[in-house]
């Protein structure tokens, strides 16, 4: 017998939260920001890709996008001059309204009771933020001002259609400056997005222009003021824990060709009375005897009639 069935309690499922810097540099803070001239030339009315190094570098990857949204379609050229209000900026506004508010009749209200007709959206590359952003790690310096989420200041979580919502406030590491309670936007960890009110961002020296039917290149204006960006991602890794329990009387013989002669005799007579085997691998099988997973030990584990073994196998998905 070379297979042993697991009991029900031998297999357990665990979930671990893994956090890590968002940026592909592996560093917690990104302070070099580059754009692609090719992407910018064709898509700047919609969004600007931001890289961690010159986009022609082999390791250059998009870290996040900056986009500008305007309810009235200002700041970008109209799709059709005879159709007022319909431009890339209004399309972006509608996109985020649908995504975040889930209601075409709702407005964005970031600070007090003031409706925000235009805002910037920083959308983190999906492969960078993995599953969600980690509140409390967000520090964005624009000009001379540093903004963070207020996750450490709030006692009750707020939710929108896009999941959790934290206010973007002046401060660091999830705590706002008590002397400045202005909410500059929303930090949306579940969709990897940060919204910043375009009007209020003049506090940091970013002035969005709202010319009608004119490409004001507002995304570039925010890009030009970026100084540093710190952010961590959070991912839940689900693991199967399999407990392999080997009793003293089990698995003490090996059919390894170096252990037996051609006729099946044990190579070493000493092992007739004191058989020993060395475990190096654990195979995980289904009912069909298909080998689904395999675990290797770091060194051979001696098994004989006087030893029992308990191995915990971790299988990540």
């Amino acid at each position: 017998m070379s297979f042993k069935r697991f009991d029900a309690e031998d297999i357990a499922i665990g979930a671990d939260a893994i956090t890590a810097p968002v940026w592909s540099t592996g560093a917690p803070i990104l302070s070099t920001f580059k754009t692609s001239s090719i992407q910018y030339a064709t898509k700047n009315q919609y969004h600007v890709n931001v890289f961690q190094s010159t986009y022609t570098d082999p390791d250059a990857e998009v870290q996040f996008d900056i986009t500008y949204a305007d309810k009235l379609g200002r700041g970008t050229t109209l799709y059709n001059p005879s159709v007022p209000g319909k431009s890339p900026s209004s399309a972006i506004y509608g996109q985020y309204r649908s995504l975040v508010l889930g209601d075409e009749d709702s407005d964005f209200v970031f600070n007090a009771d003031t409706i925000s007709d235009n805002f910037y959206a920083i959308s983190i590359n999906r492969s960078r933020f993995k599953e969600k952003l980690l509140p409390g790690t967000f520090n964005l310096t624009i000009g001379s001002k540093t903004f963070t989420d207020n996750s450490k200041d709030v006692a009750v979580l707020s939710f929108k259609d896009s999941g959790r919502v934290y206010q973007v406030v002046e401060g660091t590491d999830g705590s706002g400056n008590p002397l400045n309670t202005t909410c500059y936007g929303w930090f949306l960890p579940d969709i990897g997005t940060i919204l910043l009110d375009a009007t209020l961002l003049s506090y940091a020296g970013v002035t969005a222009l709202v010319g009608d039917n004119f490409n004001e290149q507002n995304s570039q204006k925010l890009f030009n003021k970026l100084e540093s960006f710190q952010l961590n991602s959070e991912e839940t890794v689900t693991s199967n824990y399999v407990f392999v329990r080997v009793r003293n009387s089990e698995f003490n013989y090996s059919v390894n060709p170096s252990n037996i002669t051609g006729s099946g005799d044990l190579r070493h007579d000493y092992m007739i009375d004191a058989p020993q085997a060395y475990v190096t691998s654990v195979g995980l099988y289904n009912d069909n005897n298909d080998l689904l997973g395999v675990a290797k030990l770091s060194k051979p584990l001696v098994k004989d009639f006087t030893k029992e073994a308990l191995l915990r196998i971790k299988l990540d998905f």
Partner: protein, 216 residues
Amino acid sequence: MAYLDNSVVTVDAILTKKGRELMARGDGSFRITQFALADDEIDYTLYNPSHPSGSAFYGEAIENLPLLEAFPDESQIMKYKLTTLPRGTARLPIIASVSNVSLKQGQSQAITPETLNYLGNNNTTENNGYIFTVADVRVASLFTGVGINNDEAIRLNNITTLGTNVSKTVIGTSLNITSTTVNTLFGNRSQLTTSLTIIGRDSGARVTVPLTIKKV
């Protein structure tokens, strides 16, 4: 007084090629229900019963061996399984009567293994049959185990894997195999070679033989 040895060893497992295929299939076949232990990489000729320091050191050379990481190819790992046998066993079961298998395109053959040295008997067919695994299922248009009619064996015989270089496993006291008639698999070659592994379900005895398909 000394620290107690931690009795639980934690090791990370990887999915095999077959495991990934079954997970992608999503039909419930990716369900871990049993395990086996193996001693791949161990060379028992390194075991030294004449070690001058005594029996505690007989396995010294083996026990300090650093091991390689796991291979994802299920046909290249878990080759030599550990088995449970009564204490005092001097001869281990081996599979006899199966040697190299060579077929022409489209040819059929029945393979009936026998086990030597199992529970004091010679040339016995194991009650629970044998596990037959072909490393590359594409070489066989028919690969069916016969002689064992439980649910597990029937289900295995009915599983179809198309177009990918993965293994296939069936159960039976005999194996019926028909080689492929597909010419494109050969390319410019005159023959295809893979391996056929046979494992006794009761004894754990194992043999791997080359399986050659010759183009007609």
